[in-house]
Amino acid sequence: MIKTVDLKKTFVGRDQIVHAVDGVTAHIAPSEVVVIIGPSGSGKSTYLRCLNGLETLTSGQIVIDGVDLTAKKTDLSLVRREVGMVFQQFNLFPHKTVLQNIVLAQQVVRKRKDAEAEEKGRMLLQKVGISEKENEYPIRLSGGQQQRVAIARALAMDPKIMLFDEPTSALDPEMVGEVLEVMKQLAREGMTMVVVTHEMGFAREVADRVLFMDQGKLVEEGTPEHFFTAPQEERTKVFLRQVL
């Protein structure tokens, strides 16, 4: 479903060059839930953002569902329709109501009729458990509710892949659960998911595979059992001792 080959992303600062992603090769199968963990600044978010073209690559190759993102003639907008993304800061559209947030892209991008888009929107709001808030503006919602709306908004495009960029990091602790619950349900339904997170519990429970990144490199990967009980690399062991 997703294939990245020797992916490199370099940021050039004023007098320094940062190798944010430094040669990551990974394959993600359909319906697989992959959790990427690592210390901050390890390039996991940048890697995720590369997967739907929010960052331009320095070198390497990304193939999503058979489409090469690095090919010149690829229309990134077409690829992004199939790849949903959920951000750490939610990024809901503040000037639109909850329902409008979910309906807008369906109408503009998928060219769906109003009634069809609204029906889909209401169905998704019910799924994430906030149908009573459809006419509220995002500012009046709690962080957890906003993030669930953001998930519904991404799902409304019927994506084949969902990317989550630290979806619970900006939430108050008591709201983390409600968002993770929605994500778990998605995983059970067979969605292909790539999740960058610091929630080790989620990784252990839901992930099919865990990738550990440090300093732009893919240090170790494996099933959660392998990863949390018998890590091979010294760097992984140090990291796990700190977070667990």
Binding site: R80, M85, N91, L92, F93, P94, H95, V109, A154, M157
Partner: protein
């Protein structure tokens, strides 16, 4: 600590100070030799225009029928041609069966007409409105070019903005009228409106740019991640939010535009300012007319700022 401040004494003080300033001005004008003639002002807003009605041939009045305020006078020429004229009942100058020569007055009609001040106010209003619309369009396009990734678009927009912001509007109006007006053969009205629109456009462009850049990057990323193209994201996501944020500075800019439009009087466009000067030459009521002109500008600008305040309140529902 509980804050419980009474503010009405302060308001009283404000009013007192304003009153004393006015009183001081009044006393000062008393000392100079100036006769205030406020009664001359209203006729330059509206006046009752008298039009004389005359007979186009030698002939005779056959009948006069009274229709209340107006009367119909029926006349017949020596060749037997009949005509009917309507005049004001109070201004009939002929009697039935009276013989008339060509050009004799039958009577007069009266009509309320807008005086020069009202006509000037209207000119200023539509001139500013047209210039605002074009200024907004120019500013929007330039503002988008200013934040574009294309170096040429960016370079062109920066050149335009710097050129316009770095030179006085009065000089620009002269250049538009004398140079471009001659070279491109455009009328003074077009020259005046273009100068105002292009001047306002440069400032609007900077306001729009600031507005767009004040929207968090995540908004564009969220829109793009949903598959929207950059133009779609601009139209549906970024610009509506930027517009809301830039409404107060935009309003200020268009209020400025109304005031700056007084400068086009220099190229003989009869706007409010020029009308005021013309009225002064025939009345010598210099003080009164300038006060009136200032008041009329104030009315235009305060209506605009009230309107913008209303729009702002409407847009505030998502805050």
């Amino acid at each position: 600590m509980i804050t419980n401040k009474t503010i009405w004494p302060w308001h009283l003080l404000t009013v007192t100070i304003l009153f004393m300033l006015c009183a001081g001005l009044w006393v000062a004008t008393k000392k100079i030799d100036y006769t205030w003639r406020w009664n001359r002002v209203p006729q330059y807003f509206l006046y009752n225009d008298e039009t004389m009605v005359s007979i186009p041939f030698d002939g005779r009045v056959t009948s006069i029928s009274d229709l209340g305020d107006s009367s119909q006078i029926k006349v017949i020429s020596e060749q037997g041609e009949e005509k009917i004229y309507t005049v004001n009942s109070d201004a009939i100058q002929v009697n039935v069966d009276e013989d008339l020569f060509q050009g004799d007055y039958l009577g007069a009609t009266f009509e309320w007409r807008a005086g020069p001040l009202l006509v000037g106010l209207w000119t200023t209003l539509w001139l500013s409105a047209v210039a605002s619309v074009f200024g907004m369009i120019i500013g929007l396009v330039t503002g988008l070019c200013r934040v574009s990734n294309n170096p040429t678009l960016r370079g062109l927009s920066i050149t335009y903005i710097e050129l316009i912001r770095g030179t006085p509007l009065l000089v620009q109006i002269f250049i538009f009228y004398f140079f471009l007006g001659t070279v491109l053969d455009i009328s003074r009205i077009v020259a005046g409106i273009s100068a105002l629109a292009i001047f306002a456009g440069a400032y609007v462009a900077e306001i729009i740019r600031a507005g767009i850049q004040s929207i968090p990057k995540g908004q564009m990323e969220a829109a793009r991640s949903l598959g929207m193209t950059v133009p779609q994201a601009m139209v549906y996501i970024i610009l509506p939010q930027a517009f809301k944020r830039t409404l107060p500075p935009l309003a200020g800019q268009f209020i400025s535009l109304i005031k700056d439009s007084s400068l086009v009087s220099i190229i003989a466009i009869t706007d409010l300012t020029k009308s005021g000067r013309e009225v002064i030459t025939s009345t010598f009521a210099t003080f009164e007319i300038w006060f009136v002109v200032a008041f009329l500008y104030l009315m235009l600008t305060s209506v605009l700022s009230q309107f913008v305040a209303w729009v702002e309140r409407r847009l505030a529902i998502s805050d």
